[in-house]
């Protein structure tokens, strides 16, 4: 074999190694995105059900409970595959909760009713988990996209038929009354 064939062989080996590494890396990143999506779905679902329980228990007061109940109902009715309407419905619930628990006193009052303590702790925890999951998901999406933008990855279609990862945007700011306990 002449020298250039050796060079060619060397280049092929290096490219092959790089591709197998990157394929593994990409697979891992896709699984990170999937895990993030599942965790976020779960956190939002739990938040919805805790908020629903609050509303059903007529907490913190009947008028606020009705508004919370309505927001929860909207979330449940929303098509889970439509990103935009989902984002709007979840953000709406965030804002309603934010208005209901805008100060520590409101949270404390609610926690004072029978069973309220546990409900408020759950609501605080699910709210925080939703926020965390969404940040982790969007971080995974960014890392995944960085790899999928590489031209070698696109040329060799290393991503296969995996859908293009999408971040999830919504308002998930915790109510101002949370976090003081």
């Amino acid at each position: 074999m002449s020298w250039w064939m050796w060079v060619l062989l060397g280049v092929l080996v290096v490219v092959g190694w790089y591709l197998s590494q990157t394929a593994g890396r990409l697979d891992r990143l896709h699984r990170r995105v999937d895990a993030g999506t599942i965790a976020l779905d779960r956190a939002l679902l739990e938040r919805g059900s805790v908020a629903g329980e609050l509303a059903a228990a007529r907490l913190p007061d009947p008028a606020t409970a009705a508004v919370i109940g309505d927001a929860v109902h909207t979330v449940r009715r929303t098509d889970q595959n439509n990103q935009l309407s989902r984002c709007l419905a979840e953000s709406n619930l965030t804002q309603v909760l934010g208005a209901a628990f805008d100060e520590p006193e409101a949270v404390a009052e609610c926690a004072g009713y029978p069973g309220g303590e546990e409900l408020m702790a759950d609501l605080e925890s699910t709210t925080r988990r939703g926020e965390l999951s969404r940040r982790f998901l969007n971080d995974a999406v960014r890392a995944c996209r960085d790899v999928r933008y590489q031209w070698l990855v696109r040329f060799f279609r290393l991503a296969g038929h995996t859908p293009w990862p999408e971040p999830f945007e919504m308002d998930d700011a915790p109510p101002a009354g949370f976090g003081s306990r």
Partner: protein, 395 residues
Amino acid sequence: MQEKLKVGIVCPYAWDIPGGVQYHVRDLRAALVREGHDVSVLAPAENDDNLPDYVTSTGRPIAVPYNGSVARLNLGFRSTRRVREWIRNGDFDVMHVHEPVSPGISAVALWAAQGPIVATWHSSMEKSRALQSMFYLAQTVLEKARGRIAVSELARRTLVDHVGGDAVLIPNGVDCAAFAEATPFPGWPGPGKALFFLGRLDEPRKGLDVLLAALPRIAERHPDVRVLLAGPGDADDITKKLPREVADRLTFLGTVSEEDKVRAFHSADVYVAPNTGGESFGIVLLEAMASGTAVAASDLEAFRRVLDNGTAGRHFTNGDPDALADVVNELLADDEGRAEMERVALERAWLYDWGRVTREIVDVYRSVRVPGEKVTEDLRGQFVGRLARNKDSGS
């Protein structure tokens, strides 16, 4: 409703040598166990005999210069194998890796595992070209961490600048209840007022020199002031360079137990933190605050955050003995103002209580996990990993 988790925590620094990351892991583990979780810790150790049974040792560490000081870390083939064994046998729901960019078992654990992994960044670093290239190489490993935590804004910025991406800020915890009550040492603080310094005596970044240089000026206003010093280092080396007048005011405790540390806080009127750099959080400040001892600290960014810009303690210009003396003098002279500041500080310290911090960390664990998922060994494309595996199963 709260599912109990099996958590594996990786600490890259020697377990039996005092250090901030080690304390963090120890306290986090205790708080997690209190909540009913099952925790195993992986760490290097100088001496495997005295380890608590929740710690798995990866062997004796070696001293490596790292990030401006000397770190004791584990490197090499044997420790890699132990890391893999621990991951394989641990059956963890979540793996929590601390200081993942330190060149030790944390990086190895990240490299050797896959699944629900959380990483915590503790230290801050200046941007540098060498580090930059290391981060590029380490990127594929670092991106395995699904959830990233930074204990301070500075640590978070280090991560964002070097690695890119995002991290959630969850501060260091302090066990407030453990600091609330203690018996002062006999005769302390005494009517002549007392100060407390904690840290390595011979480590310039801890700033003992600044405090000693300020003492004559403090003594002008408070002629009977005394200083309690705790921390490793040779006391004679310090005193022989000082005038009698200053040296006589110092009482050295040497390396202290946790219990004596709490007593020392209660034995002083003011805790002085003259650190000149290298601090990314300032956990000691919180300990002083939880003990109800007034704090005077240099104006490092990390300290300003903990003290809420001077509301929960007083600041002086970093490295300036005169400024330190003025602040301490003012604090010592005003008993009422000091008591009020201590009250504000105590309230602030409870925001950092381990119980609360742990709840947030558990939320992170649950946010990176699909129910039923476990941490498993990652053997893909890892030649050395396969070798280690084969050798294990062969023996």
